[in-house]
Symmetry: C2
Subunit: 231 residues, 2 copies
């Protein structure tokens, strides 16, 4: 990692001079001071992508939720907890040449998080009212001014992986979707490998099942190619 950071600082990779935003990890949405809603994202894929981009010479802003994965070296680091905080951090990080939205952002949060611990009372169950979180990917994809030249979203799907991901790409307005097959029987979620389809305007590419580091390297190379074509 240190070597990669030095290479980036001294080297001349294809992403030299490009600023890339990467979001990573889960978000935690508070229920009360001690309870929250989380998801099983480890942050491993986002972290690997940040490292791969650094290795190609990019200046990386890494916006991460409370993830288990060790933080990548050589990035500008922004730690957040909730989806709302993540959106704020993303907006503060703009403008960027490319944005990679690998975080597993909670779709919903509890409408009014309790200021004190919800007490257990016999026979009484809590009622949680939900409200939609800001859609970070869609917000950035649909910016009328200052939109990154390349916006990459992720989809973790448990059924009709490609169909759902293609629909998501159009709905959000992003350029690419990295669609990950997380059907429980694949054992992907929380593991070290991903089974990925890269979905763009041009169609669908099926990548063989491979380690998250390898997915990251391939994606970083693709991003470098796309930004080179653009400029």
């Amino acid at each position: 990692e240190i070597v990669a950071a030095i290479e980036q600082a001294m080297g001349d990779g294809p992403l030299r001079g490009k600023r890339v935003l990467v979001t990573s990890g889960p978000t935690h949405e508070p229920i009360d001071p001690v309870r929250y809603i989380a998801n099983r994202s480890s942050g491993a894929q986002g972290t690997a992508i940040a490292k791969a981009l650094v290795a190609l010479g990019a200046e990386v802003v890494f916006v991460t939720g409370p993830a288990d994965a060790p933080r990548p070296v050589g990035c500008e680091m922004v730690e957040v907890e909730s989806a709302q905080e993540m959106l704020g951090a993303v907006q503060d990080a703009l403008p960027v040449d490319a944005g990679v939205f690998a975080a597993a952002v909670a779709d919903w949060r509890v409408k009014v998080a309790s200021g004190s611990k919800i007490k257990k009372e016999k026979g009484k169950l809590p009622t949680l009212e939900f409200i939609e979180n800001p859609d970070i990917l869609a917000t950035v994809s649909q910016m009328s001014e200052g939109r990154p030249g390349l916006v990459v979203g992720f989809a973790a799907e448990t059924c009709d992986v490609i169909g759902n991901a293609q629909a998501k790409r159009l709905r959000k307005g992003c350029d690419w979707i990295v669609a990950n097959d997380v059907r429980p029987e694949t054992g992907i979620m929380g593991g070290t490998e991903n089974a990925v389809h890269l979905i763009s305007e041009g169609g669908v590419e099926d990548w063989p099942r491979m380690g998250k580091d390898e997915v990251a390297r391939r994606l970083a190379v693709r991003i470098a190619e796309a930004l080179a074509r653009e400029s």
Copy 2:
């Protein structure tokens, strides 16, 4: 830690020959294959207690939820995820001479966890119906046969710390409550110190704010004294 384990194996601590159960960490209650409800327990206090008991010669069964804290050495280790799994593991671990229930067990779980990822649909919010989890502390405290000689519960309170903890002790039927003041302004939750009151039939002891390791050592000594009186 290795030294502690060797000392326990060879030594002659006051808990030599005593079997003690410790539960620790949060529980995770699934919403769907990727989302779950969690709580901010790091497992640090339960882990410290297990280590302190091992250091006094106890045979420790450590039943832990998905905690960040490194696992204590020299214990019989049982890893669980949900409250229901934890209850099963606790019942399997009995009989014990003492049970220390330091885990932050979720009071509620989602009634029917979804088998596939709940999709986000425009303008549609999920409805989560909750159901009460088994009360592990009360279940063990109120066993008519095979109840541990000493049952220690924990309370993390955000207001009226002692009053709430005393009521909890009577309601659950446990012998002691270690009441921890986790009002947000104390910065205790997730930190390295605890501000503890030990509540028993005899009254309330206020311990000064101290590191979790020191809380653990004091509690282990108290447990050793109580079990010595008993036998």
